[in-house]
Subunit: 204 residues, 2 copies
DNA sequence: GTCTATAGCGTGATAGAC
DNA sequence: GTCTATCACGCTATAGAC
């Protein structure tokens, strides 16, 4: 019986269906009614598994961090031993992923996160991803340096800024992957040069 | 007669009331019905002056660029003659304004701009603001350099990234203005160091 | 414990009367 | 130029069937 969602299958089916909608039609296309329709279930059914649309998105956002973090970690590993080259690869991979999976990226870092920031589970799930950022920056500035949280946030903000502005078509690239890579490349170079100078000046 | 909106007063009243809502309750609080209620006018009345909510927001977004650009220009002027110090002031002013006027900032650079990017008037209105960015970067790299569009976008992305992440509480600052300024300061320093290195390497 | 049916309310948008 | 319906659709809560 395909539609026997009793015994807990519906919860996972809702998560899967919502992710499908996010990937195919974008984050804004998500509505609990659309999810219910896709699963041929009543409009109220999802509410027995998620108290609100926000709760559902919070779970999905928490899940999404794992895939994102793993993607970044792999890109860093493939970049070799030099910490600055690894940082460059991190920025490049961050932007690429954010634009190729725009729905999921917005799910994790979009404007609705102001409300989702109140979910401890979401915040906790995002921590490993930020740890990758921290480690990447720490590897550049060297051990024993004083806190480099400002640098980490700078790296993050730059990667997020490119992803957002290109994703919103404010920086026009015509979805040209090469143009996006070039922009990431320039940004990463500036970042690396800036961090080098910052470290040499003993500001960190 | 206070409520004689005939003869075109209503259009301006709608623009004013919407901006009031954006400033006081945020961009998400805007609805044409709320605007109509505030003006004690029927729910359908706004539609005779703006074909859709998007059209209304597009007009406001176009208007908002002027104030933002002027704010940035003033901050740059007050920073003295050194182009790098002016760039630092630009970043600082950008982030401050974006967070102090978060509703207006999202109106100009938020996620809904993907749709508004199709409005030629909006794109045109945003150009002067981007010109300020271009000139600020050009003043650093010096005249006669080849195109520095990558650097401009890098500066913009960093400023936008900080504004977004702090605004969405992803980078926690507790609305502490000093913490925000410190972050902008570090980011601007990295940016300046990176651009200097970029220029010295002859990459621009 | 799981799902359906229904209803309340807010929103964007349109048609036709004044 | 404005108003009074009216429709379609979204989120959410509640009552009740199984």
């Amino acid at each position: 019986m395909k539609r026997s969602y009793h015994h807990g299958d519906l919860r996972q089916a809702i998560l899967d269906a919502t992710l499908d909608i996010i990937d195919s039609d974008g984050l804004d296309a998500v509505s609990l009614r659309a999810v219910a329709r896709a699963l041929r279930v009543s409009e109220a059914a999802p509410y027995h598994h998620f108290a609100s649309k926000q709760d559902l998105l919070a779970v999905l956002a928490a899940n999404a961090y794992a895939a994102f973090g793993q993607h970044l970690a792999e890109a860093i590993s493939a970049a070799g031993p030099d910490p600055y080259e690894r940082l460059r690869a991190l920025v490049q991979a961050y932007v690429r992923y954010g634009l190729e999976s725009r729905g999921r990226y917005r799910l994790m870092f979009g404007e609705h996160m102001l409300e989702l920031a109140t979910y401890p589970a979401v915040v906790a799930a995002g921590r490993p991803t930020r740890l990758i950022l921290e480690e990447s920056v720490a590897a550049c500035v060297g051990p024993g340096r004083s806190d480099s949280v400002g640098l980490e946030n700078t790296v993050w903000a730059l990667a997020h800024g490119i992803t957002s502005l290109v994703g919103e078509a404010e920086i026009p690239t015509g979805s040209n992957a090469d143009a996006i890579d070039r922009l990431s490349e320039v940004a990463a170079s500036v970042l690396i040069g800036g961090i080098r100078a910052h470290v040499q000046a003993g500001l960190c």
